[in-house]
Symmetry: C2
Subunit: 856 residues, 2 copies
């Protein structure tokens, strides 16, 4: 009766949690009829009991012994040497947790050998060299894993003998390997340690060592980093050894059922002749592409192709498998779902559905929506990438190669000659727009994922890495540690991973929209949540519509102000004399009206939500010494702008506060919007503007603003009137605000910052370490924090709807295009609004949410 | 049957809402047997109907007429002239809302006169000059109030006649006043207006004008500012005129039943002989102290004293009353509760209770706890104060006079000679502590009520005015507008009102604790809420205990770091090399341990809650060019402190974030606390330290900190472990945090800032205008915002207690000493913690809350 230990043939129906990933894969492969060496699995339950009680649980060892006897029978070999003339049964003892933790825990191979066994193995294989090499390896591995001796000590012995003989590993004779084995045994003795010659003692020691390795420091760190529960425990797989190092007709390899970089269908992988898996890992010899087998081992290649097909049919997923060929015979040792690039993920899902391997719905659910933004852009080829020089935050996906430039002027100089550039800045401000626009990529030393650089880069669709700690940017050069980066130096940045490389790194082209369109076509019928775009210009509006946006959920009018030719007028408006103010109002009115016309035209028939001015005042101040003439010093002398510097601009004089106290700005913006809409109506179009208030924290603010809007609504026509919910207080008072408006739009960027008391611009100082140390399970500026911020959003949604059943609810801000956040919102929102390059993510995530509901 | 109009004798039992404040006072005075001229009251209900319907409501006019007939009977005079030989009945028509709105609405006197009436009046009084003067005044007032003519036009006529005759008002003969009257009538005619000679038409016009004046612009603004509902409406009092201007035996005056400045018992007020109330208002003649009547009109003085006593017995409150003496006969025209200073309020309440006029419980409830801090400090004498030069925020109560100084050095120079100084700074930093300590008062140009200057000043007990917009401070001088303030110039500041005066303004000494102790002795038995103090030094702890603190609820360890000799060590700790860090840890450890010993000793037997380091890092940086040697430039060159400048320091790298990532700081502080406690235990004392975490936003932070504390708790002894709830997220996740801690302390300063998205340091740019325009009904940094922040506090309290029934709940921060906030908290908190000078407020407010619960 099994309690803790199962042969593969007995374990069908047990789950991955019990068998561990490796054990589960072996059981399934055997069930699928694939050649798997006989094995038994000690369950995770046994590991948990061991760790709890500090010793092997009652009865476990007896079970193991019984099952090893069964292995003997299945393999026709004898554990513990050549008793009865049978060849010795050697086993591997491997860890295998329910969740993959590659390399974190211990493994011992070749277990079961002793002095008698070596002789028997030499006889059985006719290869004494192999037998002594195998024994030597066992002593070393056991010494390291079970007895805790540093591997270096054993390597030194081997090196000594090699040096004496002046040969490489392969050149060593059996006698020399025997010498190494004996000296290894003596090494242990000298340290007061004993290598057990009893194979059962070896096995028991190995099983306990694997159990203990669950709690080794690197495994604990790994679990903390990846959020893997501490109490899962690991299973132990004890499997009859097969040997890839028995000659030219043996070998070892790794296969993928499809290309993990491109997703292309077909066998892909590597093979190393006459070797054990460990030799590949050690990097002593370079494996060859599997493709080569076609030529010199066509039968094996065919067999591998058939195996790949069978694995995919069985697991209905792309598999990454390990195999060994022993004297021409193929054995499968492991299989698991293969890691893949974003491109590959989509292509595999779509093609598997088209091949009938999975359903279209499954294909839709298999693609991680968050990976889509990277999909359309070039990516760093993971196979060809060197170690990055430095890492920052992945602010705008895609990779770019270009010459380092440090100013607008430099960017213009290179761009005019058609040379691609990467703009490198300490951080960006509206003054840098020209340079950002001309660049293939943007790199900054400071700022978070929603800093100016990040937001503008995503808007422009330019890859960007921001907040690269360790990067120091000066006027015309930069430093990364000791390394100086000069103007014109080639850089590669990867905005999907945050990596920054020196020189040109090979890139993979982005996928076309074509394959994605097929996936989205299957997905969209399940989507009930509306998807709008964040877009601030007519061009962005056009692109948003092309990407399937059903309107604009957030048009940030302050971004319309951040244009070089407009900034002087904005400054006059905000800080000028009354005459300057009036002139500026007129100029900006014309600019905004034209912008609004373009945007409304691009979104004809679809809603366009315009958020009135919301930026801290001092963002509009010129830099302290601006080359453009007027600078802060001059303004300060004149006494204007003097008091504009704020201690906490995030929580300062902006948004509705500014609009209520500077009503002319409010009137100008709303009039520009209404006149623009009226003009388009005159052309027979169907403009659908909506107006939205920023930074509201009290219903009185909304009331006052609504009063201010009434005259213009009367002069033109009323349009939907709404408010951002982006302060915690607005959420808490939703019930009182809701009756005053037509819609709420949750501004989860600011709401997150205020709820946590965490400034996105400053979080670089602690957030990375918080994530590393798992003080937070995910970055709340990226993925909506459901417990805190999400609770406020839900509360406001429920209380708002109760007070105004017709209230429309939307979400804008970065979370509006993040999959988990969209999933959360799809349960109760009318629409989400995402930045341009996250639109596809939002569409797919919303569709997945709908699909899950249908299936539930 | 009365619907809208009541004679005083009919109106008993009607309330202030119906009769208005003035009408109600008259009814009550009549009931108390005081001499009140006959009058009728048109109710607020009539006004509301008029404003709703746009005309006098059905039946109202008939009621008025009937009641005026009754007035005729009561007064023995005839309305509309001398019919039947009776003297003409003149009436005043006055507004009187349920809530006092002094001067906001209209009044007409002398109504009922026409050409015939003038003659009759002259006959009846034997004084034609008086009769024509009265008529002239009526025409002018009617012209202004009912017909909307500017008063200036009438004044010009009068001036012209006076100039021609070369006399003052009093010198005009009856014929000349007659001329003015006729020319006034012609003036109206020329503008197409008519002064009705029919007294009934006059009355009707006046009543409607008073009704309409409810909605005049200045009344609307006043109501918005003081939060008075728009729909109350005003009552109208129509009262038989009495005349104080009929000769030397006539006059008019105002009396207080006790001294409104000091509270001293006894008649207090002013009297003007041979005058109408309007003459006092016009300021043409200066009234004399009532006291003088003792000499030349002892009978009248006695009568007024008896009146005052009667009023107090009747109203059980200090009264402010208006009276007129007509030919030796006293008439009372108005009474209301008198405004008073904080000092007076306490003295009056206490003495009235001791006199048996009111109960001790009533006395307790009558004192505004928020007024107490001002009570113990000198105050600007309101009678003697000139117009302030400028106003800032009242940051620390009390008034101070001293010489302007602009630096520590200047303060030391003056102080060494015993000269009192006012420290004037743009804003203060820890570097300014010496100067602040040596000053009698502190004045800053920037900063809010919880800025460094404000917090430190309250801690030191020094009056302070902060954030005085319009003040510009340079190195060795300051400017207020065009006025230059030089070193040594005398200034007076009033930290209770925010006023800043040039030169020395007379001050009133603060009350002693003695009278307050009497009040608190009656109050305290009703208090159930604990009251602790915010205190950071042994001296503050001692004073807190003397003021009745039952422990320390907030000991801010960062304030212990802000001492001149310690700052270099703090800088080494935070920004230095590892060796410097270790040395600094040791030094600061010794400092903190000594401080903790002193504090725990002062609070022997009472809890002391120590909050671990919580200040934005850059607060510890030296100023850009510090005279003290090491400056930021130098540090920046060395690459230390380089990245410390934060965009939003409020939301940055501080509090628990810093403590978790710099565990040595955490360990040092906790060890210092535990060693200090152990040392005192060795002395046989009973130290009760508690440790508190700042800026928590997630339970994992608390868990990690608790892990870090365990070793020290094991080495010494465990102490209560708690957390601030000062981010919205901590409140929202209270249920998960509560089981990990022994107590929550609501840090409503930060919680308010984050919930509103409002930085206290920057709110000066919009908060004053928000309050002025009633976009907020009170300053949320002063009075806890119950709807938003209060909702979070309640939610966290309830969910926290549910998850951990033993959880102790406290409130610290500025609201902990604000009466309305304490009232709110007393329903569910265990204790509140207030700054030193707000301790009495907290104690009284908590007692009032308990008393109200007992009475409810």
């Amino acid at each position: 009766m099994n309690r803790f230990v199962y042969l593969l043939e007995e374990a069908q129906g047990l789950d991955r949690d019990t068998l561990g990933g490796k054990g589960f894969g072996l059981v399934e492969m055997r069930r699928a009829g694939l050649p798997v060496p006989p094995a038994l699995v000690v369950t995770t339950e046994a590991c948990r009991a061991y760790l709890r009680e500090g010793h092997l649980p009652e009865g476990l060892w007896e079970e193991v012994k019984t099952k090893v006897r069964a292995l003997e029978a299945l393999s026709g070999k004898a554990f513990g040497g050549g008793a009865g003339g049978r060849p010795p049964l050697l086993v591997s003892v491997r860890s295998g947790a329910p969740v993959s933790m590659p390399g974190m825990m211990d493994t011992i191979l070749n277990l079961g050998l002793n002095l008698e066994g070596v002789e028997a193995l030499a006889r059985a294989t006719g290869n004494p060299r192999f037998a002594w090499d195998t024994f030597r390896r066992l002593i070393q591995m056991y010494g390291e894993v079970v007895l805790g001796v540093e591997g270096q000590a054993f390597e030194a012995l081997l090196e000594e003998v090699k040096a004496r003989r002046g040969v490489s590993d392969a050149g060593l004779a059996p006698e020399e390997l025997e010498e190494v084995a004996f000296r290894s045994l003596r090494l242990l003795e000298e340290r007061g340690l004993v290598f057990p010659m009893d194979p059962w003692a070896q096995l028991r020691g190995a099983v306990e060592a694997v159990f203990r390795s669950w709690n080794n420091p690197r495994a604990r760190v790994y679990r903390r980093i990846y959020g893997i529960p501490e109490d899962l425990g690991t299973a132990v797989v004890i499997q009859a050894m097969v040997f890839g190092n028995l000659g030219e007709d043996s070998g070892t390899g790794v296969g993928f059922t499809r290309n993990p970089a491109t997703g292309e269908k077909g066998l892909y992988g590597e093979y190393l002749q006459n070797a054990q898996g460990e030799d590949v890992v050690a990097g002593l010899r370079t494996p060859e592409p599997l493709e080569r087998l076609r030529g010199f081992a066509p039968r094996l290649y065919q067999e591998l192709e058939a195996t790949a097909a069978l694995l995919e049919r069985h697991f209905r997923e792309m598999q990454d498998f390990e195999f060994t060929v022993e004297r021409g015979r193929l054995y499968l040792l492991q299989t698991r779902s293969g890691k893949r690039t974003a491109q590959a993920a989509v292509r595999i899902a779509v093609e598997m559905a088209e091949e009938g391997l999975i359903t279209k719905e499954e294909a839709v659910l298999r693609v991680d929506p968050n990976a889509l933004p990277a999909l359309l852009r070039p990516a760093v080829n993971p196979d060809a990438a060197p170690r990055p020089l430095i890492r920052g935050l992945p602010a705008s996906p895609g990779a770019a190669v270009g010459r380092a430039v440090f100013s607008n002027e430099m960017a213009e100089r290179y761009a005019s000659q058609g040379v691609p550039v990467i703009l490198v800045r300490p951080e960006t401000t509206p003054e840098d727009i020209t340079g950002m626009y001309l660049s293939q990529g943007i790199l900054t030393a400071r700022g978070g994922l929603t800093s100016h650089a990040a937001v503008v880069a995503r808007g422009l669709g330019v890859p960007a890495v921001v907040g690269a700690e360790g990067l120091r940017v000066e006027k015309d050069r930069a430093w990364i540690g000791e390394k100086e980066i000069q103007e014109g130096e080639l850089l590669t940045i990867d905005g999907s991973t945050g990596a920054v490389y020196l020189g040109e790194v090979p890139l993979l082209e982005g996928a076309g929209m074509e394959i994605l369109d097929r996936l989205l076509a299957w997905a969209e019928p399940y989507r009930t949540l509306g998807v709008r775009a964040n877009a601030d210009t007519p061009e962005e509006a056009q692109r948003a519509r092309a990407f399937g946006a059903e309107g604009i959920g957030l048009c940030r009018t302050e971004h319309m102000f951040f244009k070089e030719e407009r900034l002087p007028w904005v400054r006059k408006l905000l800080f000028g004399t009354p005459e300057e103010e009036d002139e500026a109002l007129e100029r900006l009115f014309q600019y905004q009206k034209e912008d609004f016309k373009g945007i409304l035209r691009a979104m004809d028939g679809l809603p366009v939500t315009v958020r009135l001015l919301d930026a801290p005042l001092h963002e509009f101040l010129p830099p302290v010494a601006s080359p453009a003439g007027e600078d802060q010093e001059a303004m300060a002398e004149e006494g204007r702008g003097r008091d504009l510097k704020e201690v906490n601009p995030m929580l300062g004089f902006r948004g509705i506060r500014l609009l209520l106290l500077r009503p002319k700005v409010f009137q100008m913006q709303l009039r520009a919007l209404l006149e623009a809409a009226q003009a388009l109506k005159g052309e027979g179009l169907d403009p659908r503007p909506e107006v939205m208030l920023p930074l509201v924290s009290d219903p009185k603010e909304v009331e006052r603003a609504k009063d201010m809007a009434q005259a213009l609504f009367a002069e033109f026509f009323p349009i939907p009137f709404g408010t951002m919910i982006e302060t915690p207080r607005a959420a808490l008072l939703a019930e009182k605000i809701a009756p005053l408006v037509d819609f709420f739009s949750f501004g989860t960027n600011d709401l997150t910052q205020m709820t946590f008391g965490l400034s996105r611009d400053d979080a670089g100082k602690f957030l990375p370490r918080y994530l590393e140390e798992r003080l937070l399970s995910s970055d709340p500026t990226e993925t909506l924090d459901l417990e805190g911020v999400g609770r406020l959003v839900r509360l406001a949604a429920e209380e708002g709807r109760r007070a105004n059943p017709g209230l429309k609810l939307g979400l804008c801000g970065e979370h509006g295009g993040e999959a988990r956040s969209v999933l959360f919102g799809s349960a109760f929102l009318d629409y989400t609004s995402a930045s341009l390059y996250r639109l596809l993510t939002a569409r797919l995530a919303a569709a997945q949410a709908g699909l899950r509901r249908v299936r539930a």
